[in-house]
Every structure is written in structure tokens, then in C-alpha cells.
Symmetry: C4
Subunit: 360 residues, 4 copies
């Protein structure tokens, strides 16, 4: 299957941008699933903040540059990719298509990119990597204690995953939709670690959920246990970014979790420049939150990200057309990124950041 | 009744935030009462300014902090509270539920918080405190002259109220709706002090209403007369804040009266930082105006308030479900506040203010 | 008739603010007349700019000030007024009510204020001043040449008008509606000075209308000819303000002509502070454009205007109820201004400007 | 035909501004053609940015200036024009009216202005200039290589075109509508230069289209080949502007291509001041993008442009009434520009730029 996925140029009539898949995806999903996918926390201000921050950064075109032979290639942790558009970890992908995470992973690798598989994947880590035929990256949620967390990470490493993205910005389990019977987090130990019993007057937050959340000591411990590249996902404050890199991590993901955790956070792009200024010399910085097209990706790269993650858009492709849809979404965004780079006179990723082409 | 109110976690189906009570409350009230509750002065710009100011302050999440055992506890004037969410003084609560202020007070104390009972309460001060089973705070309106004002304050003190919040930003009686026959300000001396007769050419404002308004001398006099904690409610200018504290008051409430007095005032949150900078070292600063959820409360606390007041939202709960509704609103906001604190890496109220987690 | 006009408190049921007259006025006027009254130039951006500028200035309330005995009194050019709310010159008032300018003038004087009668009044200058029973002010349009202009000014002076406001921001005759047969500019010499014949290639603007527009030399000449107080109306640039005062004028009106001349001008309030800073020590500064209520008036006064002009709102009152409507609009705005002053702790007009109560 | 076009004052009832032609034009065009004309790239942000930038610049009126005898005259490259409103190059004008580019060119010259004829004109360059009866300017697209490009430019020069505007901001052929059989780019060599064949892994952007895009070396070469005035169209960055002038070009056009190329670019007017500051001493600067009326033109001139280009509005006139419509659009905008100049106290184009009449 990787052959058509790799050569894919255009499969769906009337689809010219990733956003065009939205209208194909929605009718294929239940209302509840659609809401689960599209919703942000609270009144949606955090999602809007992502959009506004991306719209506010504008691109100054730079004609007449010689960009022949340019490319979107990059190397991350020794691995060569054709483009900087990673698939973000999204849970329970069998909600959206019966092929689930396997389809997304096949598409990512066929398009010479990378997927980060969620701890909450609805297929086994082993079967996903087998479908992909290549190493993938793994998104790790803290499992309530060190032993369970390490067990999950080691399973991923044993299965051949090549980097660990440790998500820290959603320590409290979010309310999710009622999952169908045949969709579950099949890679997690069951039952989950029970929450501590609360005494009268104790807080379900501070004495309950947060007891099972990771802290800086846990991060240091995890760093020691894991020899693969380790990135922390969910960073918005430059002080935290610096502390993470000082803890020996290889990188981080600037993200507000797609506006799904706390309403009222800033747009992720607003926080990117300070973090870049502080740690980009010594760390790999990924950007996640609100990327909808190649121009958005260009903006994040221009402001200092090494690569970006796309989230909901590839799920639109998955829901609409399975692996082919995901591959097409990646291809469309890459084409837009290339076109934007050409118009901005930047022939490779370092040139994007070096170019003086962002106007705010 | 305090047992179920205290243990309350969730009573109403479909209610996940305080705002969800709005749609339960509205059909239970007459259109006139609803308009009286929800309306702001003029074209509503002051209410919008409150909302915009709160939305403009955004919260940077700070993961990986150890917040185990955290809490929202605080001590105000020697009294211990479990959380900083005070019930604001709202008049004529029997308009909204037959249990009136008594229900709100029971809920506040059952949730280990505090209520400020209005001078315009529709039940006797004594009966409200009896229903609550604990000390409450009293909101004092100037009664046109010193004698009547002191008489009202002394009645509250005699009934066991533990602090006086003296409201100064609404010196002119606002046009209110036509009250039903069985709802009135039962604690005020009747008839009210008559307005001075006006000579030709005199102003109903400067020579009428404002003759019965308190001034700085009256505040100094009141401070001398009252040994309880005395706070001034309705402060927006830092110069006034300083003058109030220099007059010996214990604190103040930064408030634009929920946007109900003068259209075209700034959002209260815009004025908070300057006031905090000027007087927070020597005074208790409460914040009131526009708080709708726990994130809003967090923002006011982060900008230097010691505690916040909630207004319309608890009346939504009162109208929908009486004391249980009020208790649930408090609980929901406290849960949201705790969750926000956890996500911002702040385990107690001092940490909120110390944390660098507000982005504007 | 001046008795009921002077004592007027409230005549129309449901009318609580000047804006409430709008819905009474509109059905009494033809669509064409209404459009003529309400319309701004172009797409209405200049009118919006006036509104936005006023809304953006917000008032910090200052409680506890002693404002007993306060007032809105002021003296302008030796004449005492009870309030600073002047009626702006509006043309052809018999379009709006059969009593025309006479009704407005009666109302202005009965409310102890002042009206500026337009050069384009639809009643004779003499009859208007007779109806008013007091001196009025006269708005002078340039009549194409000095002789005609002086003749018109001298007629007004002879009729007893006490000040001249020379409008300079509308040198080109605006397209107006087709006037009914019985409404015309009865005070102007007929026929009007013919526009110069244009040669091929000449501009109807530069070689036509503008040949009949006044320039700085004309202003200097007019200043010499007129011994009454002379103000220039339609000033937005501080350099022009300075030049006008240096030319010996007594004051000026900061105005964008209610957004009726050039779309895309700034809101008048945006230009006020610089002009105040430049010339207020030596000149009387009136503010005109967009005032809709007493808070708006307060804002302009706080930013340095000596008095303000109201325009469309008094025409709403005129259309709805003749002189009584105009008087009521003035009274309502004055009440709002007094209330705003009281809430801002300012007991007279100098205190408004001195108070630190504007937040931008 | 040039006689009525030159003397034209007003032909269409109800048309008072160029925008009024829009509603006459739309019903005369197919939906597809209308969408092709009006659409911007992507979600239209770039078009909105043009509008917002123009609206944000506001004009301070400057009364009392003596502007008699003023004019909008200017000289560009030795040629005298009556006004600075050039017709922008727009492709395939026979889509909009059967008279096509010839009609626009006649109108431009009859109104003593200038038209820039597109490389994608739907009539022969020779027939257009013949219809116009005067020299026109020619917009040059790169034709994939030097030989083809030079051949096209030389044909224009031979036909009598007097200046070359070399468009560089749209190197990649935009998706256009399906053209009717009888409309095509008749001046281009057919077939077009084929795109290079791509090897596996090559990019259709970097190894395809951009191989046929011009670069700085090509510009230098073109400058050497062309002795006519040469301007570069599509400049947004001051560094590029400087490089262009240093390459010996005579001027440039600040433009984002009417928002048709890359969504997310800044409004062209936002970029104008920096470019003016950098190169206006040694170059002719034209402004293009979003001009809809005479005030817009005034703003661009005030910010330093020597002349402006109008695009879609003249096509509205063309679609509605052929050459008469185009001539009327030009006349309306010129009248608005003259009126704006008069109100701003500026009697000629140098005065516009020198005047301190823009408020941002």
C-alpha cells in the first residue's frame, strides 16, 4: 500500500486543501465523535487564540530569490525526513476509521515523515509499527506511578519506537466521550492505577489526580531510564523550557494541547519566540497547536520551530479516506509549505528561520 | 441541610459549569426579574469591559510542578476559609427563590466560604444568620445620614455579622424593577430619609441625592464607630484605594458594581494591578465584577486579589435549585480553580500571585 | 411656552435617554429626510470613528468626594450658562418639525443653554431670535466671496446674535436631499454666487468650488470685520488650531462635522487632546461630533473641551415632540452629565478636567 | 470615441462612486468569472489585510488652505498625466466585456491617464495600442526562460509600449478558471515552455515551477536588455526594494497582487512606508492593492507613492458599460481624489506627501 500513498498527488475531487477534507469527514462520524475531535475546552478561547496568533503573523513574500533545487528536508535525531510535518499523537483513532492508527502511520511513513503514536492508541503499538514498516515515535502519558510509566515506555522501545514525547500538560484525565465497546486504550495496563481514597476535606485535584501526575523529579528519573531521544510535550513558559533542557531532555513541544486542556491559555505561537530564544541553541523545538495549512507551518518554522505537528487535519483525512486521506493531507500541506517557501524566497528550512519574512 | 450542601458534588444533570445554571434559572424567573438580574447600565459596555478584561488576561500553564496536598485555603480577618470565592451582596434574593438570602448563606457556609449579605436583603439579618449557622459578612449602604447608617450597622453587628463591607460606588439609588408585594428591603428603616426639597435651579443630583451620599469625612467617622473589619466596596482608582487604607480601613473591594452603575467605566480587572501595587502590602483586596468560572477567579488572584466575589452565577444556582444550586455553583467554581491552579503549577493562593503565569 | 420647557423633567413615556427619542422621531420623518439626518459620508467610517473614540475613553468612578452643591454652570464669552450642552448648527430644521429652528432655540434658552443657528436655517434669523427671547449664536458659512459673507454676518449681528462660529471644514456644498417646496435657506442671498465657468481641462474642485472657499487671508479679514466672539468650527489638526488662535480668533470647535464630510477622518475625540495641549490656555475649545449622552459629554470635557455640542439627538427630540422634545433631550443629557460628575467625584466643570478619571 | 470618454462626467443613473458599478457588473458575468475576478487566495485574509490597512490610515482635514488652481497632474518617465490613477494589468479582459483590453486602454488614455496591459491580455498588443491611440505600458511575466521573455518584451516595445512593469511575485502559474474557447492569452508563444520532467523525489515547486521563475540574475540581464523604463511589480520588503533599485531599475510597484497570490501576506499599505523611506529618493514607487476610491488613493500618495494602480474597480466599469464605464470609474476616483486633496488642504501631489494629514 505504501506505493500509492507515496506517489499520491490528488485523490479526492474538489479537495484542494486539507480543510476541504473537513466536510468529507464530518458526515462519516457520529455527532459525539465529531464534537470530541473538534471541541476545545471551555468556551473555545484557547482554540481561537491559536488561530488568532497564527493569523496575526504574516508572511512577506520575497521574489527573485533562486530557490531551484530547494527542499523541505530535515534531520531529526539522526533520522532523515522529507518534510517537517509530523502527525501529532491523537487518541483512539479507530473512532475515526476502522484502520485506526495503522493507517495514519502508514501514510506518515509513506510520505517520508513521522507519526507520534499516542499512549491512548486503539491498536497495539506493535501492530501499528508493523503496518508502518518503519520506526515511529511514541507519545508517553504518565501512568500514575514510575513503574507503570516505565513499563509502557519500555514496551514502546521494545517494539521499535525511536523517540519518546512525554506529554506533561494534561496531568488530569480529561472527560472524554463514551467510547464504543470495540475502541479502547489497548496498550495501557488494566485496570488503571486507582485514585487515592480521599479523606474528608481533601481535594480531588490536589490529593487525587495530581498525586498521580509527574513532577520534575519524575522527569529527571525518566531521563535517566530512557536512552532514546526524549522530548517534553506541552510547554508554554520559557522558564519551563530551560528547566527541561537542563534536565537533559533532547527537546520539547511548544503546545497548548490544541486548546483542549485549559481554556484561557495563550495561543501557542505567542509563546514560541521566547522559548526559541532561550533554548533553541541546545534543543529540538517542535510546534503543535492550530496548524491548518502550509502557511501556518511556515510561520512556526520562521519563528524558530524545527518541525511542526499537525493534528485535527490529518484526522479529517483519515475519517474521509483512511490512509490515502492522511497521505493526501500531508502532501497538500507539504505542497503549500513548498509554495510558501518559494514565494518567500527560502529554499530550505534553515533559510525560513534566517529570512526576514515575518511581519507582526 | 448543611450536610448535603457540604458534600455536594453534582446534583443537576447536564450541569458542568456555573454557566450551565443560566438556562435553568431563566425560565424560573419573570422577564422583568431576569432583566433586573442580568442587565448592566446603559448599553452594557461596562459589563462587556469586565468580560474583555478577564478574557485578555491569559494563563500560562506550568506543568511538572509538585502540587500534591495543595489547597485553596485562606485566612481573612482571622477566619479560616476553604476557598476564596465569596458570595457578593445581591439585593432582594427572594425575587429569585422563596428561600432567599437564607439559602445562599447556608450554601456559602456549608461550602466553608462566606457570604456578604446586602443591606437590601429581603429577609431579616437575624434570620439569615440563623439559617447559616455561622457568622456572615454585612454589606452596608449609606442610609442618608450617619444616625440611620450606624443604626443599621449596629443591628448587623448585634446579629453576629463579622465584617462590614461599605459600598460607596452607588450613592444614587438605581432605578429598580417594581418589586412584588411580598419582597422588600425588610432591614431598612421605613420610610427612607426624604430627599431634600429642591429650590428652583437646584440639581436633583448635586442638591438632592448626593446630599445623602457619604463622603471621606463620613468614612472616617464610620471607621471610628465600627471595630469590626471594615472594607470599602467599589474602588477603581489607586489614589482612592490609598486614601481608604490611610483612613484606617482594613481592605477594599475593587469593583465596578458588575457594570450596573455607570456605563463606560473600565473593566475592574484593568484597574486591579495598580491598586494592588499601591496598597496590597497593608490591606486586604477583594475583587468583584464579572467572575464567571474558576479561571476568572485564578486571574484575579494572580493579579493580586486576596479573594474574589461571585455575583450573578450564584443567583443562577439559587433560582434553579435553591441552596443546593448555590452550593453547587460554589463547588464547581472551586473545582475549576483547583484544576487551574494545578495546571499552572500553583499549589496554594500565595503561589498563584507569585507564579509568572499571566500573559497579557 | 418657556415655563414648561424650563421645568421639564419628563414628558414622554418610555423615554429615559436621548437615544430613546430616535424611535419616536424616525416614523415621523420621510425615509429621505431620515437618511439625510442620520447618514454619514461614504461608508460611514467617520461616524463609526467618532463612536469608537468616545467608547474607548472610559471613566474611572471616584466615590466619597463631597459634591454637594455642585453644578454644571459655566461662563462663555461673558455669558452665564447652566450647562455646557450647546445645540449644534443643523440646517433646514423645518424638515423635522414645522416649528423649525424657533422650537430648538426656545428649548435651548429655556434650559439655560445656547443654540448655534445655521446659515442654512429654514426660518429667518430674526424670527428665531424673537422666538427664543434671548441672544443666540450664529454659524456662518462662507458665501463665496467676502461681500456676501460679511452681509450675512452683519445681518445676524444686527438681529442680536452674540457670537459667530465660522465653519470651514465643508467648503464644497454637500449633496443634500431634494428639499420640499416650503423649506429653504431663507437667510441666504438668492441666487447664490455662480460657480466660475470652467475651461477645458480645469477641475470642478480646484477651479470651481474651491475658488469660493475661504482661506487663511479670508479668516484674517473676517476677524478684523467682526468684533463679536469669533470661533472657527471644523478643526482637527493642532497646527491649524494654533494658527487660528494666532489669527486672533476667540476659540474653535474640534469637529469632523459629525462624520458628514469626508469618510476616513479620525474620530474627533482622538484629535482633541493635542489641540487642547496646544491652545487651551488662550482659547475656548468646543467639542462636536458623536455626543449621544451625558457620559460622552463628560469624556470630552475631561479631555479638555470647555463645552460640547449636541447634534442629531436634539433633532430626534424636535422631530418627536417639537420644542418640548428638544428641551427634554437637553435635560436628559444634563442629568446624565450631573450623575456622571457625581460618580466621578467632580462637582464642577473645572474639576472634570482636573480629575484623573479618564482611562484609555 | 475618445471625445465622450474624455468629457464624461456621469453616465449611469445611481452611480456615484466606483463601488456602485459592482452591482451592475456582477449580473453581467457568469458566476465563475465573477469569482475569478473577486476572489483572493485561500481564505481571503490577504484581501482583508489590504482593506484594513487602508481603513486604518485616516485623513486629517486641513481647512483654510488656498488650493485654487490645484491639480492632480504628474509626470512619470517624462510623460505628463492628468492624474495618478493607473489601470493595473488584469488578464483576459474579454472575459468581462467583448471590447476587452482595447476598451480599458481607450478609457485610460481618454482620461489622460495610463493603462498597464497584461502579458495575459486577450487581444493583441498591437490592436490594443491602436485602439488607445497612444503609448501604453506593458506588464511582463517571465516566460520560463530568457529567450521567450525577451521576445515578448521586444514585441511590446516594437508595438510602441513605453514602459515595462516586470511582475515577479507570481512565479507559479495560478489556478485560473476554465477559459471560454474564444478567450486566451493571444500574445504568448504557444505551446508554453514545458515544465521540466521530475525525477522521483523531486519537488514540483522547487524542481518544477521555480526552475522557470526569474531570479536576481535574470533581473540584471533584463535590465541590460531593455532601455525603456523598467519597474518591478510585486515588492513588499524594503530590502528587496533596495536591491531592485540598485540593479538599475527605474521603479517598483508595492503590491501583494491584490491578495491573489499568497494568503497571509501583510496589507500592501503596511509595507509602503518602509519602502518609501528606503528608495523613494532614487526610484518611482507605484502602489497597488485594494484601492477602491479616491480617499484610498490619497492615503497611498500621502504615505509616499508616486502614483497608484486601480484594479478590480475598473473591471466593474468595463463589465457594466465597456469603455464608458472604465472612463467613468477613473473620473469618479479622480473627483474623489481632488475633493480629498481640497479638504486636506493639498493642492498638488507633492503637497499630499508633504502634508501632515495622515493619522494612524
Amino acid at each position: 500500500m505504501s506505493e500509492p500513498l507515496a506517489k499520491l498527488q490528488s485523490t479526492a475531487p474538489g479537495v484542494h486543501t486539507a480543510a476541504d477534507y473537513l466536510s468529507f469527514a464530518q458526515p462519516r462520524l457520529t455527532a459525539e465523535t465529531w464534537h470530541y475531535l473538534e471541541g476545545g475546552s471551555g468556551s473555545g478561547m484557547a482554540m481561537q487564540a491559536n488561530r488568532h496568533a497564527l493569523d496575526a503573523a504574516r508572511i512577506i513574500t520575497r521574489p527573485l530569490a533562486d530557490v531551484r533545487g530547494g527542499s523541505t528536508k530535515l534531520k531529526l535525531f539522526g533520522q532523515q525526513f522529507e518534510h517537517p510535518l509530523l502527525l501529532a499523537p491523537i487518541a483512539y483513532q479507530r473512532l475515526f476509521h476502522h484502520q485506526g492508527e495503522a493507517a495514519s502511520a502508514m501514510a506518515a511513513n509513506a510520505q517520508c515523515g513521522q507519526m507520534v503514536v499516542s499512549s491512548l492508541a486503539s491498536q497495539t503499538l506493535e501492530s501499528i509499527i508493523e503496518a508502518a514498516g518503519q520506526a515511529l515515535w511514541f507519545q508517553l502519558y504518565w501512568q500514575g506511578d514510575r513503574q507503570r510509566t516505565l513499563q509502557l515506555a519500555k514496551r514502546a522501545i521494545a517494539a521499535g519506537y525511536g523517540a519518546i514525547l512525554f506529554t506533561v500538560d494534561a496531568p488530569v484525565k480529561q472527560a472524554v466521550m463514551q467510547l464504543p465497546e470495540d475502541v479502547s486504550a489497548v496498550n495501557l495496563e488494566q485496570p488503571a492505577l486507582p485514585l487515592p481514597a480521599l479523606h474528608a476535606g481533601q481535594s480531588s485535584v490536589f490529593d487525587g489526580w495530581m498525586v498521580q501526575a509527574p513532577d520534575w523529579d519524575d522527569l529527571a528519573w525518566l531521563r535517566d531510564e530512557i536512552s532514546l531521544p526524549l522530548l517534553v510535550k506541552g510547554v508554554l513558559h520559557a522558564d519551563d523550557a530551560e528547566k527541561i533542557i537542563n534536565a537533559g531532555c533532547d527537546g520539547l513541544v511548544v503546545s497548548n494541547h490544541g486548546g483542549r486542556v485549559l481554556d484561557g491559555v495563550p495561543g501557542s505561537l505567542e509563546m514560541l519566540p521566547k522559548i526559541v530564544q532561550r533554548v533553541s541553541a541546545k534543543a529540538t523545538i517542535l510546534f503543535d497547536s492550530g496548524i491548518r495549512n502550509g502557511q501556518d507551518a511556515f510561520k512556526a518554522l520562521a519563528l524558530g520551530a524545527d518541525a511542526v505537528m499537525i493534528g485535527r487535519p490529518y484526522i479529517w483525512g483519515l475519517a474521509a479516506s483512511g490512509a490515502l486521506g492522511v497521505a493526501h493531507v500531508i502532501r497538500l500541506m507539504r505542497d503549500e509549505l513548498e509554495m510558501t517557501m518559494a514565494l518567500a524566497g527560502t529554499k530550505d528550512l534553515p533559510a525560513i528561520r534566517a529570512g526576514k519574512c515575518i511581519f507582526k
